[in-house]
Point group: C2
Chain length 335, copies 2
């Protein structure tokens, strides 16, 4: 187990302690629990607050998107584990600025159960909560069963859009509506080339041959669609985009944003080689690329692999995507 | 060789083609050569221009720092190889805005030879060129032989400071002076846990045991100071900081910026676990942390490992560090 760490059981908490020490002007813990993090200036009065949460091991997901123009707070679990309902509720109270709270997170069973419990606790204290689930991974369930799909790198776009809308002064219903409209336009799919190791477990999450890749594997090592020989970058771009474009609402003439996401160990060079071909395909399909993000936006620690996300835009979604944002993990000026 | 690519011999060029397709508003090639890249708005008239260059395989080094508030142009070589003097000269001409050009790059033999030749070519066309070498890696040569040290992640701080000074309207001598003053205050050291594979070569740059790490290894796999058992994150922070603080001009009461850099495959979680202890040590030494950068700033493709860089600040260096910057790989608002 070749990890830079101290005791495996302290992996998540020591990560969070490091983050709080590195970014004291941007983030703070709620009380003494480093797993309940909020913007340093929370609560922002008069703004819809946005909370997310989920397991550790996916940086910058989830906490990396807490900051200006994005999210207000996050509950953090152990590696690949859900945080508790109580932690989510504590975050909810700490970020509520009088205009309600949006729970915006990935569609995983443990997280859904705990966020739903937290929402009930919040309602008893007269904090209005609405929930929007991110379920962008087309590989995780077929068309018609979208409610079973997992949330992966599309989380980034959902956070960006919701955060920008909330920053404009929109009310909770408006933030919910635009986030749902964005998510209807977002699809992702990825490939995994190597496993990662959960520190407490100490062995790889799965095994895969030196010449193999798995298409559609989840960011916790959930089984994908097919396992086969490692393909070329061009073939990977073609396979992923075909699945994405067949599933989503993309039509010739549409404008799209694209996210090429590294899962952890895959170099940016390789991500750009994939984008090179993806760009050609999008052009062939008549899709106009409005903006491209390339890098590590949703990871599985040291897993090798990558995902593509395509986000169909309209005028409002473009405006919200272009808005500035600043967190310790993601910065964007007004585009 | 588990890489996402097409033909190994096209690795560097296809990366660059992908980058140009992804970021057409920010970067453009000089003529038809994708290995000569400049800001889309180059030349910026009336501003000192800054060029860098070096081999591929280190993203975001080098080209990732071409953009607003940082660099103007870059010549890109094949993986771990220097670009040619002609490419550097072509970039020089394309970025010269009438106030001279600073060559700012890492201290590697091939790059030095080619940049020096390019400078001679530029002088024949009456373009004034000054050179500043980055040589921040304390592991690569002992004190007293600083001129033999390699440039590693400290490049980032050098680019940030030089770029901000040029943006303020300073002349070439002033940009040179502040960049040299910054570099006198910058030290780095790293550890490697795994090799990377040069695509054309197809096998690892070195071998290392499953329970081993090498302290002070270079970003091309150059030998380090010692190889030994993998240490804990706390021990790594202690070892690296001891070497850095003993070598540099750091004194109790100083303000410093810190860069925790991932070499490629090491997750951000682990970088923050290292920073957690580094922060404690800096506080014990009486050093005040002004700003912390954590992430992948100078890599070796899929190499696992990390480096620490400490940058002692003064009032001017703080002002320049805080200035906004925007490239496709690095964005910072006014801090």
């Amino acid at each position: 187990m070749k990890k830079i760490m101290n005791k495996p059981e302290n992996f998540a908490n020591e990560t969070l302690e490091g983050i709080l020490r590195a970014h004291p002007n941007d983030l703070r813990a709620v009380g003494d629990d480093v797993r309940e993090l909020v913007r340093a200036d929370a609560p922002v009065q008069g703004k819809v607050a946005i909370a997310t949460g989920g397991g550790s091991g996916h940086l910058p997901v989830f906490l990396g998107y807490v900051g200006k123009g994005m999210l207000d707070g996050v509950a953090v679990g152990d590696v690949f584990n859900s945080p508790s309902a109580q932690q989510m509720f504590n975050v909810t109270k700490a970020i509520h600025g009088g205009k309600g709270v949006l729970y915006l997170y990935g569609n995983y069973g443990g997280d859904v159960m705990n966020f739903d419990m937290a929402a009930e606790m919040a309602e008893m204290e007269d904090i209005r909560v609405e929930t929007v689930l991110v379920a962008d991974d087309v590989a995780s369930a077929p068309k018609g069963e979208e409610h079973r799909r997992r949330g992966v790198a599309g989380l980034f776009f959902a956070y960006k859009i919701a955060g920008a809308k909330a920053d404009e002064g929109a009310d909770l219903d408006e933030v919910v509506a635009v986030t749902k409209r964005a998510l209807a336009n977002i699809r992702s799919m990825g490939v995994a080339l190597s496993p990662c190791i959960i520190p407490r477990v100490g062995k790889p999450t799965f095994t895969i041959g030196e010449d193999e890749m798995e298409i559609g594997m989840g960011i916790h090592g959930e089984p994908g669609i097919t396992r086969g020989k490692l393909k070329t970058a061009d073939e990977i771009a073609e396979t992923l985009l075909e699945a994405i474009l067949n599933d989503g609402p993309y039509e010739s003439g549409d404008e799209v944003a694209v996210l090429v996401n590294g899962l952890g160990a895959t170099p940016q060079e390789e991500l750009y080689i994939v984008y090179r071909r993806a760009h050609e395909i999008l052009q062939e399909k008549g899709l106009k690329v409005f903006h491209v993000y390339v890098g590590e936006f949703a990871t599985s620690m040291e897993m090798a692999g990558m995902s593509l996300t395509v986000f169909k835009l309209d005028e409002e979604l473009k405006r919200l995507l272009k808005a500035p944002a600043y967190t310790p993990f993601f910065a964007q000026p007004q585009l």
